[in-house]
Amino acid sequence: MPAYHVLEMGPTTGLLLNLGLLGLICWSLLRIENNISHGQKFLILGLCAIFGIAGRILLSPIPNVQPVTVIVLLAGIRMGAKESVFIATIIALCSNLVLGHGIWTLYQAVAWSLIGILGAIYSSKIDTLSKLIYFSAFSGLFFNWFVSISILHGVSFEILLPYIISGLPFDLLHIVGNVTFVIWFSTPLSEIMSKHNSKITLLGDIENEPTIY
């Protein structure tokens, strides 16, 4: 049978297709969320995880540009530490089932979890868009360097610094990607997370904190 549906795609076409799919997922998730009554925290956790997994897989042609760091950071700030750890671990595991699973999955899950926990700890201080931008930029750098430690399972410690230095252009890409995601998506994501969350953070209970950015 002729394979009519098999179409050779260039990298740009493939990326545009992925962006289209991601847009479709974003739109449908927002529509679904509109129909969910307030306080459905587990549903929102699931939707955020799905958005993170889809975003990471579909944006994988662009190295280090993905929405996961921003999602777990916002989850930490708006929902709490353990919620962000859950989202971080699920996203790392599920997306790596497609992108490649290995010892680095653990480092990625831990790095994103730590970003979420830090977000929860400093949630009261990250109260403006500018502060969130700085924090997300720092998170990008922190994530990349933390995950780089995983190479020590295969190479000696002396290789680590040159490895980190050689990856600086990709650190820059992660930072700019995070800043862009924060500017574009922090407001709607924060609103959704706050709306459905009776927040319990490491700092204590904060009932439905209003969105500031």
Binding site: P63, L129, S166, P169, F170, V179, T180, W184, T187
Partner: protein, 199 residues
């Protein structure tokens, strides 16, 4: 297509334009998107330049200019192919192999395409060094030669055999060698280069 400078220039122009067009959050959104796209487009160039800066010795005064930093004060053999006869193994630029034949770096911005094998020490005779160095890459840089009264004459390297008025020319530390490879005495910081020249 575009260099880094052109991309920065275009992104700056778009930034100024969007700054006049939008305000507040929309301005931030536009500017962040512009610079993210600019960075994505330019990242291959940035990465290549950064990799060269961090891995290679970039000093035109130095005999090891353009070679990996860890090869400084070590013996290196390079083979540069003519532009119209680059073997498929070396099509992306100048490939660098260590002394056990492992690829360590590919320089896509170097003027010549070919291969360098380096990190050797203690060789004295140029011909012995050349045969041992090229052997580490398997058959990619197979050397064929004929014996003459002046010592070995290199007829083919990596499957390329010069024809007509062209020949494999030998350079030692940047200067054309006055002796053949059989008589060339090398030191621990020697860079031996073969490239095709015209009579």
């Amino acid at each position: 297509m575009f260099g880094i400078v052109e991309i920065i220039f275009i992104a700056t122009a778009f930034t100024l334009f969007s700054s006049t067009l939008f305000t507040d959050l929309k301005r931030k959104q536009a500017i962040s998107a512009i610079w993210l796209i600019a960075l994505i487009i330019s990242i291959p160039l940035i990465n290549t330049e950064w990799a060269r800066m961090t891995n290679l010795l970039l000093d035109e005064e130095h005999s090891h200019n353009g070679l990996p930093k860890e090869w400084e004060n070590k013996q290196v053999l390079c083979v540069h192919f003519p532009e119209d006869s680059i073997p498929s193994d070396f099509i992306e630029g100048r490939y660098h192999f260590n002394n056990v034949g492992e690829e360590v770096f590919v320089d896509s911005l170097w003027n010549n395409s070919g291969a360098c094998i380096g990190g050797f020490t203690d060789y004295v005779n140029g011909f012995n060094f050349m045969l041992d160095a090229t052997n580490t890459t398997g058959e990619k840089l197979e050397v064929q030669y004929s014996e003459s009264n002046f010592g070995p004459y290199i007829t083919s390297i990596g499957g390329y055999e010069p024809t007509g008025n062209t020949y494999w020319s030998l350079y030692h530390n940047g200067a054309e060698s006055m002796v053949g490879i059989g008589d060339l005495e090398i030191k621990n910081d020697s860079v031996v280069v073969w490239q095709v020249a015209t009579w």
